[in-house]
Amino acid sequence: MNSSSLRRTALPAVAVLTVGLTLTACGNNSSSGSSGGDTLSGGGATSQANAQTAWRAAYQKTNGGTINYEEVGSGTGVQNFTSKAYSFAGTDAYLTSDQMTAAAKACGSDVVEVPAYVSPIAVAFNLSGVKSLKLDAKTVADIFNGTITKWDDPAIAQQNAGVKLPSTAIATIHRSDESGTTFNFTDYLNKAGDGAWSDAANTVWPSNLTGGQGLEGTSGVIGGLSDTEGSIGYADNSAVTAAGNLSVVSIKVGSDYNPPTAAGAAQVLEASPPAPAQPATSMATDIDRTATAKGDYPLMLASYLLACQKYSDSGTADMVKGYLTYVVSPEGQKAAAAAAGSAPLTAALSTKATGIVSQISGS
């Protein structure tokens, strides 16, 4: 290529890009200029993302300052909290005793661990002509482990008298990425499935089950379910409701069959026993997957917020305290329910969490 042709092609291209960039830069100028105040950095579980957006917007509007929440996943969130890169973190699984010791050492005080985001997980399916199904945990486990392969299987039919079931093959869809939703779903199948599910709860789908389809993210699962006749999968209930075209399984609780409800999930969390060997500042809970009270929905996810009880800097302490107080308050929980379809904490849990958060202080 000689120099004149270089000039003819390269220069106009550069010129066009430059003009474009200049215009964008001009457009961006107006967006800066936030009100003063401190910056609080946090991050972690992606499940809390939508709720965190709502909380941050509301909190920053009334109190100023800037709060960041990076959706880096629970594992990285806990790591960054322990390395003190984050002042607070969100995690789908409560801290193990090793993690708790490490975090307490980093804080130089106890670690505050309060539930912030509770959400029912729906078992959703796409089967033409069938709008709802009743299934017990054992049947759900058998479907996902490949024992039941047709929709007109007797185990499904006998729980759904009067529903006309086609003989379509069942296509199961699960998450291909690591996910708190998968952890809670497999925990439920393991504990409530009457021995039909042998793998312990895990954030990744069990590898010995190769019959299903792994798709990426909640949106991937919802997309796969919408596109596939005869499919069944699990996802955050708010995402299933938002999709609008999927049917939802009512799971067996005691002698009833309950559809996923926010209230049902919140009341299971309140009734569940605390996790063993936790400090008084932790509300870590082992969710009772076999709960049988009226309206209970034990297939749910509880995501926690982590903070130090003591911060060396009183400004940070005040800000963390203020933010977490808002998050666990009835107003904060209502905002999350509106934005992310989560289940607001019950009054008792909200009060208890507020009490723990109020002890955060600067030293």
């Binding site: 996943g73 093959a169 990425d177 590898s207």
Partner: protein, 318 residues
Amino acid sequence: MTATVSPEKAGPETTPTSTRRGDRTFAAIARLAAFTILVALVAVFVFLAVEGWSGLTAVPAVYAPFTSFASYIWPLVVSTLLASAIAVIVAVPFAIGIALFTSHYAPRRLAVVLAYLIDLLAAVPSVVFGLWGGRYLAAYLQPLHVWLHEHLGFLPFFGPGPPSPNGRSLFTAGIVLAIMILPIITAITREVFLQTPRLHEEAALALGATRWEMVRYAVFPYARSGLVSGVMLGLGRALGETMAVAMILATTPQTTLNVIGTAQPATIAANIALNFKEATPERQSLLIATGLVLFIVTFVVNFTARWVAGRSQRKLDR
């Protein structure tokens, strides 16, 4: 990356005939540019090796659902190669056809428009290809999955398991990859086809060759080296493509050659993207180590393909 195969094909002599300052400055800048690429490549390799080293020899639990690095990486390597193979098999004939049409057959005005449209395809982001491939194209390809399974199910690539219920398979991913690498291969092939000396073509025609014979005996041999370069660039993109595969493919950690079954293992790049976010530090090392393997696989595939192409070229010259 441009291995010159025979001395006749090498560029003009590069010994400087003048030592003016402008020449020296320009030579220095060119040299700097060349070495920067090398430095970047070495830096990436060093990063992968250092960060991924502990992932090669971790405790078995880290490799869950498998128990060793070899068993963890094997299904991913198979998937990566299968998807890329499908992409190249589908894309190369199309690319050569389009390039020949635009360089030797189409009227000039149509050729310009067509070339422009093909280049436009290269500007579509892979996320968009992923969305389109997974949500739209997969559904249309699903009947083809059933057909392939019914008629060619005896081949390990199309059986023995049932075909995908929704087309979210390695086959669909390969087709989408083919569309993604098409513009790269087409653009390069077209340019080298256009470089064929007019005299060679006219000589071929004067000897009584038909259009096709002229293309076969004058254009193809001349363009071979550039053609291989184009295919290699496309193959590199197919091997490393992440988002589109992650969004299309239904995954399962099971070694299989069946590209139209219910689910296949992810490709190496897609597997990193899917799992890095929520991974523990040990798993992150493991994922980086898989990146190192991809680096090496790409290198080996590239090297082998060039060697094969170079060998047949030498045979042709003899």
